[in-house]
């Protein structure tokens, strides 16, 4: 089943990061193996005379083109709405896209998004024509505010960036899904294993964005395939409808015509 992001139809529900891979070649192979059509990247200061960033930028462009995909620039490292707005505008010019993964970090220890600065930046960037994919915590009210402002896509975290802790608070994530049935929900950050991604999809999330769990695997290319399979499985399970959980055991084998030695004794 396809995923729709701001009017673009995507064949994969996995959005993938381009950082932390052992080499540009493995990054390219892993992204292609994942089938993802959305690749995140960023802008940073570099020595203008150095040539270090050119090779990786070429790899990312080639990879995205091969998958007929899209670039998703982020505002990683920004700590205020003003910084994030400036970086978003720079990204739009350079990457020729009005998509922006909007990140405004509020705390250095757990890289927790700053919800107040995020809302300020969101409002101003939406007014400027951006299509925003906001990275936020799993706070229902913040997600509702972002949606009310005009974000069609909301990206709550599973757990802090790079921890691999998986879904810290499934109740919150389920609540967001139930309360925002029309929003496109992408689970972003903190995913460690394919089973985490599968659980998110079983909850009814529309997609998963991750980086470290693939890039830091012993075999990133194989892990990319594993995540792709897990996301497909979780999506199918959600569509199929999981059985209700029950408190007591129910035999799955029919009890009618149970052999005589299992019958209660007659008095």
């Amino acid at each position: 089943m396809s995923l729709n992001i701001y009017g673009q139809t995507l064949n994969s529900r996995l959005l993938i990061g381009s950082a932390l891979y052992p080499s540009p070649e493995i990054m390219q192979q892993a992204i292609l193996a994942s089938g993802s059509q959305v690749v995140t990247l960023s802008l940073k200061r570099q020595n203008p005379l150095a040539r270090s960033g050119e090779k990786i930028w070429r790899y990312i462009q080639e990879t995205v083109a091969q998958n007929q995909g899209f670039l998703l620039p982020n505002t990683a490292g920004c700590k205020s709405a003003k910084e994030a707005i400036t970086l978003a505008k720079m990204s739009r010019e350079l990457f020729q896209t009005d998509w922006i993964k909007l990140e405004v970090i509020g705390d250095d220890y757990n890289l927790q998004p700053d919800p107040i600065e995020l809302l300020i930046a969101t409002e101003q960037l939406l007014a400027d024509g951006f299509k925003i994919l906001p990275y936020c915590t799993d706070d229902l009210v913040i997600c509702q505010r972002l949606y009310a402002l005009g974000c069609q896509v909301i990206m709550p975290w599973a757990s802090p960036i790079g921890t691999g802790k998986g879904l810290m608070n499934p109740y919150n994530l389920t609540s967001i899904r139930q309360r925002l049935p029309e929003a496109t929900l992408i689970l972003d950050a903190g995913i460690g294993k394919p089973s985490d991604a599968c659980i998110a999809m079983e909850m009814g999330f529309d997609g998963v964005l991750l980086n470290s769990a693939i890039a830091l695997a012993d075999n990133p290319v194989l892990m990319a395939k594993a995540f792709s399979s897990a996301i497909s499985a979780g999506e199918s399970a959600y569509i199929a409808g999981t059985m209700p959980e029950r408190q007591t055991a129910h035999p799955s084998t029919p009890t009618l015509d149970t052999p005589f030695w299992h019958q209660p004794e007659h008095s």
């Binding site: 990061g17 381009s18 950082a19 802008l43 200061r45 570099q46 203008p48 990312i60 720079m90 350079l94």
Partner: protein, 72 residues
């Protein structure tokens, strides 16, 4: 004129007390780099490429020249 490029002080001895961004870039970027992918902010505000030739840079101004990198 003294300006900051990505946080590093740069003296532009041949520049007047104010120059335009495109003039400053010729001092800090080789010609082949000027054709490459980068985006620019002046004192924390985005400046589009179409404005380089008529945006004034003054003494002590700060320019950020950002390039694509990997990201999550």
């Amino acid at each position: 004129m003294k300006i900051y490029i990505n946080g590093v002080i740069l003296e532009l001895p041949n520049a007047s007390k104010q120059s335009y961004i495109d003039q400053v870039l010729t001092n800090v970027l080789p010609i082949n780099k000027q054709q490459q992918s980068f985006a620019l902010a002046l004192n924390g505000e985005f400046i589009g490429r179409e404005d380089y030739q008529h945006t004034v840079v003054k003494d002590n101004d700060s320019i950020d020249v950002l390039f694509p990198i990997v990201g999550g």
